[in-house]
Subunit: 404 residues, 4 copies
């Protein structure tokens, strides 16, 4: 890696990536380009500019971008079309942000004449894999620097000492032990580590940052309507919204009603289990609404195929294979199914619950004429059922005849 | 079917199956054997004896049985080992009871010298398929009579007129229009039809019979602990319980906290969509707990394989293929995975939510030593991650090299 | 069905469909429109015109069409992109032709003002299902008449007597017992029934019509090269060919070298097993060549996903669900993978064997630099393998630690 | 790894593993235990004893074992029950031998008080992964030494020089360039590398060692019968045989008739493509026979589930996950299906082709009564087909109604 001269760093402006920026310059002798993205993490990104400047990075090497719309439109929504949940529950809030960050890192590397990218993910987690697989898939000759796997700053104390020795301001609250590690974007906030490391202990209240406690939520349910077009959300309570605006509005609703908390022990791609607390307020509402509109607009064959493909699709995203051909193939199949997934879903929000209570569509496949227990005026001939059952049973009868 | 002399009828004691019993005798000239099972539907089954006697059925042809333990132990729990949910949500409460009823119908037919069985399911639904596929799989030469597909009593008025003409007592409340059709057992109560037939309309309050409204549930959360051994629940709050006793106790808890309501538009095997309201109070709690204990005791490979197989497994049960070789093959795979699924799950119950908040096991695969953000004393070498990523990326890089 | 006035019949010109044409007119009082398609079955289709005229069908109701190019381009080739083989072996030669015939039947019904279609498939086979599912999927209000399920001509003798009574010429060779039932098109010839009904008996020599016996094939192997573009065959030995021309040329080669015979006992959709002898000379060569070109142009992720999806895809086609959304979804995924499946495959044909012996492509992913046992000049770092293995092993080690 | 004292080496007696044995002693200062297994590779294994002695290894540290029966009974046959073929074709001859060797390496390490194992696989291939994953799964604390990933003997010349410098006899024929790399056992011989590294070039004749050229095979076909019990082969032409004896006898037949050659470009687990020539004479015959007996004894549901699971099962074995829970789960499902896979298959062997031409079984599900085109005496009611089709079509018609 001795031929690297300039590196683009995924830079949050926080202590850790500030140390990394400095370390890359000082210890590795590299020109550092910083990239700070607004993915809806809920913090200002502009302060990162001053911090980067303070480390001597020239303005033309400081990239700050608002990616919220692209994030929701091109990553979150396509994933939601698949009803993706990893290991039955997890809405993949961290996983789905990584490919977008990597995509911009690589593009900026090309723009800025850099030959490497760097990130602040540790060597134990999934994020390093997601960052790097995406980067390599987009530029096979890109170099990747992952300081946490390389340096000798193996304790918080060492990190802080190094920061101070290199004139990096250490915020007072960073000196104390942070009780857990977090990641946030418009889709979710995750918390891992420390107090959460015993999977028998209930998550303490102070871990939550994105949702009110269900116990503190309003005593009166709130009803909302989400509009869908071709599988994607387009409106809330009749008002048209952009993807990011819709998700943000659902986040507000979800926060207020305590929706979308998930306490999970999951299997990491690198082979260990970890326990996380996820808060996905708007995402949980959206995911349920999407299933609701599919219920009346998707044919059974399409719906069941989607359900069968989903675990693999979710695993691919979790493991970092967004930019892999098999994910794109599955996406093509899923997207084709969404052509008529248009209509409106009504949900009841109440103390942690987001329940679909109604759905309607101009493309509904639900046929009251067929399903009714009342007289159906010939829409369905009950005698057909006998032949249907007889031929479905034939192989079972031949089997029973043999084995009796 | 002219050679049928004696038929075993799945008899609830209600108006419809009473009419069927009489119809089989009067119109088809058959000796009728009645079979009434307690599957935990919450109604007395003994009154069915007097009703059967009143229709002139001799005592030796009246079978009344308590199947609750067999139902939960041999059907519900094996299904729960698979985390089965049809179309993402439905816990299969009706589907899983049908094979057991069919099994006893066929066995009683053999005991009682009958050559046919009969049921009261309509020609539009899934239950006819489930009853009959199970029966044919267990006895390929059994005959099946499905009066709803055969007779001309196509309206409620006609049914009641026929009943009165044949001295069957019609309860007053059956004269009015029932607002919906229900099925109940220890796992769930389902409601379908009439007021529910418009999928845009919210389910009216009076439809619910098994759960209190979340709004009326206690304002204070309740914590419980469920113990598992080899994949099956064995205790509640430290007290050992039989399968049926455990599910019944969870039903009480679920009812009180308004847990387990599901408003679903689903795809029937016979090809149409239908809208149902399911209440599965104990089952919902149990299902979440089972996933919780698997999180720390199942290896990723086993867990992901289970997730991939689940949609097909659930579809098989929904469609009535419990006694099919492919369901048994999947069960063998699933059961093998449950050998170490032993431990305790702690859940918080609150206003419709059943949340896993802790899990522990003597066979836990969760390794704090590996996952910690703190110093791990060499349990994991972060440098391994680089090679792991590099080789996972290799095919993507070759691809990018080709396609750039 | 009393409202049917005009029906389009899939008419081969043979005895059976001639009887059906007459029966529809005489017994059902319908105006009959005949549709005769050239799918490459190897017989003249023009004689069908005179036979139809002889039965009094007016010229404007006689449709005769050459569908060979559409058949191969829009049905056979897309299926071959999936490497589809039903139950491990069968190349679906009959199954893939049915949707096209149904499509034209329905279109002609619309053109000719008919309200029904009719076919000559029996009530025991798969073809009735394939014809009718396709027709219903394309026109939900079309009526279908399947005389073999409806009339009382249950023996050959009865059929011939009826034919003679209605002035239909019975060819002399049709009076004797035909030794088996066949279906043919450009992709294959199938033979079923009679002498083949004992699955222990070897297929007699006289059953084969499309392939020479391997024992009679040339003693000298023949080498050929098939060119592919985006997953479809486009040339033979450097000469560009249309889809149908290519398949026809491969059929000639396959016939000469005795390639593509398959003796199979398969599972029909209607629930029974049947034994068939299939001859797919060109299809077998093509299928192997397609796998050959994929070997160097498809990424592993894409290739393995295709292999996992294939059994379901093949089952859908076999069962008649070509025009179902889930088949179209799978096709979208498969087609996406074929973008770079371009290149040339070299095969050796010899006495029943079609073996891929070479493949090359401008889009090859095969990298001699990586794979070589020789010095690879740094293309691959063997040290990466250690980390790769270590992290893949981690979950297995945690498992072994627990279970030891 | 400084705490290793004694290591068990997978020792073939050849030059490479002799150098490794010496290198482990000289360069790493370890006590070396050699393990030489007869897996049917066709070479004497006793000479390995003298070679090991000549390197100063004491007799009690020289393990030589005949594992042929265990190999076929516990590894090859279970895999064959699944009809496993990797990437559509490869019968996994190398992959399936590795777990057994690792199992014995680990067991011997425990017996001999060793703390590590070593193997001679390179850092580019799959075998290192298979050896090591198996070893770690069986003993999570075992250490693994892979000299090819560690030493600096990166060329053949360097290896030979090192051998001579350390008094290891270098056979004359090893000085010349070997034209390719091979692996052999009772199931197959694989050849890779060098002349095979151009996937466009046909494999030269001299590469083949296990099969006669089809062109040189007898001009007269040979017919054989293989007997199966519960999914495993038990006899040839009526003569009972042990698993290894049966496979050996089929190898003789396959060799003579030129059966089982496969020229493949495959995807390695480590991320690159490689081209191999596999010869699996007996295995190819056996695999086809197994499918043949399944055709009449397996129910469709079981057969199709097996086909859907197979690609994943084969991938697991190829990638080295034999001792992983998900492989064991799949095996449990597969094994359950084999209970009635008993009977006899007749095959025709001729110039490279092994064709099933007949099959019979006391547990046959093939019912001539049902399938016949002749009068079936009421075994099947053709009218059932109409209802079967109508209900299968219902969802497609609702879809067409909506979308027209």
């Amino acid at each position: 890696m001795s031929d690297i001269k300039r590196v683009v760093l995924a830079y949050s402006g926080g202590l850790d990536t500030s140390v990394i920026a400095k370390w890359l310059a000082v210890e590795r002798g590299l020109e550092v380009v910083t990239f700070t993205a607004d993915l809806g993490q809920g913090e200002e990104i502009e302060p990162a500019r001053d911090k980067a400047r303070a480390m001597g990075i020239p303005d033309e090497h400081i990239y700050i971008e608002d990616l919220r719309e692209e994030f929701v439109r091109d990553f979150v929504f396509p994933m939601m079309r698949a009803n993706a949940r990893y290991e039955g529950d997890y809405l993949l809030g961290t996983s789905i942000a990584r490919p977008l960050i990597s995509k911009r890192l690589v593009e900026i590397a090309h723009e800025a004449g850099a030959d490497a990218i760097a990130h602040g993910a540790t060597g134990k987690g999934n994020d390093q894999v997601r960052f790097e697989l995406s980067a390599y898939a987009l530029d096979p000759s890109i170099k990747v620097i992952a300081p946490w796997r390389e340096w000798d700053l193996t304790s918080r104390t060492a990190l802080i000492a190094w920061a101070e020795a290199h004139q990096i301001k250490v915020p007072t609250d960073k000196r104390g032990e942070s009780p857990f590690s977090t990641d946030a974007n418009l889709l979710h906030t995750s918390s891992e580590g420390k107090v959460l490391e015993d999977p028998w202990q209930e998550t303490p209240d102070y871990v939550y940052s994105r949702t009110d406690h269900p116990e503190d939520a309003p005593d009166i349910p709130e009803y909302i309507e989400i509009g869908f077009e071709k599988g994607d959300g387009v409106s809330l309570n009749g008002e048209s919204m952009s993807p990011a605006a819709l998700l943000a509005a659902l986040n507000d609703l979800g926060r207020r009603h305590g929706i979308g908390r998930l306490d999970l022990v999951e299997n990491r791609f690198v082979g260990m289990k970890s326990r996380g607390m996820y808060e996905t307020p708007g995402g949980e509402i959206y995911a349920r609404a999407h299933r609701g509109i599919e219920q009346i607009t998707l044919d059974r064959g399409a719906a069941h195929l989607k359900d069968e493909l989903m675990p693999k699709y979710a695993e691919l995203i979790y493991n970092g294979f967004w930019f892999a051909p098999e994910r794109e193939m599955l996406q093509a199949a899923i997207d084709l199914s969404q052509e008529k997934v248009t209509g409106t879903v009504r949900l009841k929000l109440y103390k942690g619950l987001a329940s679909v209570v109604g759905r309607k569509s101009p493309h509904s496949l639900y046929s009251e004429a067929h399903v009714t227990f009342e007289d159906d005026a010939g829409a369905y001939d009950q005698h057909d059922a006998e032949g249907f059952i007889k031929l479905n049973a034939l192989r079972l009868r031949l089997l029973a005849q043999r084995d009796r």
